[in-house]
């Protein structure tokens, strides 16, 4: 089933940084769509909960060097 989850990343320091995270999240298996807004720091992930494990999303963001907070 398709699910949606959100994070806040307050420490994006440039727009390209946000798009790097967007690509990294899109590459996670089961992720259908990622919306990242540099200006508000909002990260919205649409995923298939049969395939993707939402617990890995935060780790993926951290791996890119940013701190996700639950929204």
């Amino acid at each position: 089933m398709s699910q949606t989850t959100q994070f806040r990343v307050m420490d994006f320091d440039c727009p390209t940084c946000a798009s790097t995270v967007e690509r990294a999240l899109s590459n996670v298996e089961g992720v259908e769509d990622v919306e990242i807004h540099y200006t508000t720091g909002r990260v919205e992930i649409h995923y298939d909960d049969g395939v993707a494990d939402p617990d890995t999303f935060a780790q993926t963001i951290e791996n890119q060097g940013y701190t996700p907070q639950p929204a």
Binding site: D11, D13, R23, G41
Partner: protein, 681 residues
């Protein structure tokens, strides 16, 4: 325990720690080289500074590369590695340190912009005291069901949207509507989650809780607005996608031609148009955040940029310039008794939903008459031409406390008979049948249409009331005018100052109304739509091309009027209530809806939604939009100048790695700080 807290501190402030360490090493390495001449030691410390500062950057760069994006961190990493390879240790350390410092500061300042909205989120309390099964229970606020009654003690925040069912208090609505003065709330009044109950205990019947509250809708709306790209921002984004690869290609080309490694590496450092990309969104986000805290919702950057070009503001009259709460100011019978006139009109208007009809019916209900206390007529209605006094005051004059209670009871209970037939004539009035008589209640146009003769005395009275800005309604029984009801809709106190402010800012103002010419003129004069030029008037009018007011407009005429102004080359803002004026609001370049707190559709659809019925926000919104437009231009200008100067400097070898980085980061910080000025506008 101590090690753990140090570790936690480090995790939280990693960026600051890394930047500071790299900075100290950089300073140390430079100092050692300068003071002792021990070049190897100096180089070692500088390389260490590069590694410490550059580790995180390189890690992100690795991800950028694996994700096939060409980001600034990749460019900085390439430049630093390149500088170390060619032995420019000082340059390498400087680039890394300056970049870390810059992005640390940028992250910090952007966080401030991002959290402006979070303050709003934290306003709503988490728990609510709800009455369930006759007992008071504390439950999570989002679990309160619509219809349940919530008790709010003085000093507490209201946890849900709802209607007051018991109690009376002053409520500070600033978080939702931006109004600084507390608003008095009693039975039947609407209250909003996140507002503060100041004085008395309130019982509130819930209409919305959790994510279904006005505050939550505002927050969602503001966030969407901040995320929507303005036209300037998307234009720049498209440009940026080509800019970076172009600069990289230039760097490679330059090296191939000149064999000058420093020049090529410096080009890499400035290859990200940071200030250009960041500037416009920061301006827009700051402005939208600022507006939200003042009770003004802006739909997005596009609308903000457009609002910055407004040169004409058209106001709807009723409910916008006026309070929209009309009351019967006077009843005059012509050959009939005043009370009879009012009752006839009320009967005819009973089924109408027009706001003037409400005023007539209400006045008739509240009026004490012989019919209900079965005997002598109550004082107050006799011989008095002003019938706004209700039953209570009338009875007080008789000095009888019991009568007060009776009169109050009567006021509530007094019933108006139903009409036998009823028909609305849009924009003109109603035609009804009651008690075997035909009753017509309406304006002159309706009377003309039905060939009703208007006596000079009637016309004289109507003229006199209209010149005071009141609306006169004729009451006709079986083809004869039996009386006239004068209805007054008070001008909002702020209206003249708002019109004056806009005019002072060089913005034309116009009042559009369905009301008749004379009433419109009186209200327009009172509100300060000065000059009172009329369409089709003298040459001066033609030159200016603007009327100060237009009367006798049907709703679709208002839309046509807006279109006409646009055709004349004006950028038009239309101010209205968001429901009746929806078409003209949609037609205008910028539609401004008033009093949006109570109407969800206005929050969702208006380009600009004023949460309170607060006219004074209009000059603020207009000037904020203009300031934002300038701010965006300043940021773009600053960025373009910086990039041009840097490119020229690099190509002429005046600017090397460290200087290039310094100027680049400084320009990014400058545009962010400039944009953030709008948060305090």
């Amino acid at each position: 325990m101590k090690a753990r807290s140090i570790r936690l501190y480090y995790r939280k402030h990693r960026k600051a720690v890394v930047t500071a360490t790299s900075g100290l090493l950089y300073g140390g390495g430079w100092g050692v080289g300068y003071l002792t001449g021990l070049d190897t030691a100096s180089a070692a410390i500088l390389v260490l500074a590069t590694v410490v500062g550059g580790y995180d950057i390189a890690r992100t760069a690795y991800h950028e590369v694996t994700n096939r994006t060409l980001g600034i961190k990749t460019l900085v990493t390439l430049a630093a590695v390149g500088a170390v390879v060619i032995g420019e240790y000082w340059e390498a350390a400087a680039v890394v340190f300056l970049f870390s410092l810059g992005s640390y500061l940028e992250g910090r300042t952007m966080r401030k912009t991002r959290t402006a909205l979070q303050e709003l989120l934290e306003l709503a309390p988490d728990t609510a005291t709800v009455r369930r099964d006759g007992r008071l229970q504390e439950v999570p606020a989002r679990e309160v069901e619509p219809g349940e009654v919530v008790v709010v003690k003085p000093g507490e925040k209201i946890p849900v949207d709802g209607d007051v069912v018991d109690g009376e208090s002053a409520v500070n609505q600033a978080p939702v509507t931006g109004e600084s003065a507390p608003v008095h709330k009693a039975d039947g009044d609407e209250v909003y989650a996140g507002t503060v109950n100041r004085e008395g205990a309130l019982e509130v019947r819930t209409t919305g809780a959790g994510s279904d509250t006005t505050l939550q809708r505002i927050i969602r709306r503001v966030e969407e607005a901040q995320e929507a790209q303005s036209p300037t921002a998307s234009l720049i984004d498209r440009f940026a996608t080509y800019y970076t690869p172009a600069v990289v290609a230039l760097a490679i080309g330059a090296y191939a031609v000149t064999q000058n490694a420093i020049l090529s590496l410096t080009l890499l450092v400035i290859g990200c148009p940071g200030a250009l990309v960041i500037g416009p969104p920061v301006s827009v986000v700051s402005a939208i955040g600022n507006a939200a805290r003042s009770g003004v919702l802006l739909k997005g950057g596009e609308h903000l940029e457009r609002a910055g070009t407004i040169d004409l503001v058209a106001f709807d009259k009723t409910g916008t310039l006026t309070t929209g709460d009309p009351t019967v100011a006077d009843v005059e019978g012509f050959g009939s008794d005043d009370d009879e006139v009012l009752e006839l009109a009320a009967t005819a208007e009973k089924k109408s939903e027009h706001h003037l009809a409400d005023a007539i019916v209400e006045a008739a209900r509240e009026r004490p008459t012989t019919a209900t206390d079965g005997g002598e007529r109550t004082a107050g209605s006799r011989g008095s031409s002003t019938h706004r006094s209700d039953g209570a005051t009338a009875a007080v004059r008789e000095g009888d406390a019991t009568a007060v209670r009776e009169a109050e009871a009567n006021a509530g209970a007094r019933s108006i008979p139903d009409p036998e037939a009823f028909e609305v004539v849009a924009g003109k009035g109603v035609v009804a049948r009651a008690d075997g008589h035909e009753i017509v209640v309406g304006n002159r146009a309706l009377l003309d249409e039905r060939d009703v003769e208007i006596e000079e005395a009637v016309a004289e009275y109507v003229r006199e009331r209209e010149e005071r800005g009141e609306t006169a309604v004729h009451v006709v029984r079986d083809g004869t005018v039996v009386g006239v009801i004068a209805i007054r809709d008070e001008l909002r106190a702020a209206a003249p100052a708002v019109v004056a402010d806009l005019r002072a800012a060089g913005i034309e103002t116009v009042m559009l109304t369905g009301d008749n010419e004379r009433t419109a003129a009186a209200v327009a004069r009172e509100a300060g739509f000065t000059g009172l030029r009329k369409r089709g008037g003298d040459a001066a009018t033609q030159e200016v091309g603007i009327d100060d007011y237009r009367a006798e407009l049907l709703p679709e005429d208002k839309q046509t009027a807006v279109e006409a102004y646009q055709a004349d080359g004006h950028v038009v803002a239309m101010v209205g209530d968001g429901i009746n004026d929806a078409p003209s609001l949609a037609t205008a370049d910028v539609g401004i809806a008033m009093g949006a707190a109570g109407t969800d559709t206005a929050i969702e659809t208006a380009d600009v939604a004023l949460m309170a019925d607060d006219l004074e926000r209009i000059p603020y919104a207009v000037s904020l939009s203009k300031a934002t437009r300038w701010n965006v231009l300043e940021n773009v200008g600053l960025a373009v100048v910086t990039v041009t100067v840097l490119l020229a400097g690099v190509l002429t070898s005046y600017v090397t790695l460290a200087t290039g980085m310094l100027v680049h980061e400084a320009s990014v910080l400058a545009v962010i700080l400039n944009g953030m000025r709008l948060l305090r506008y």
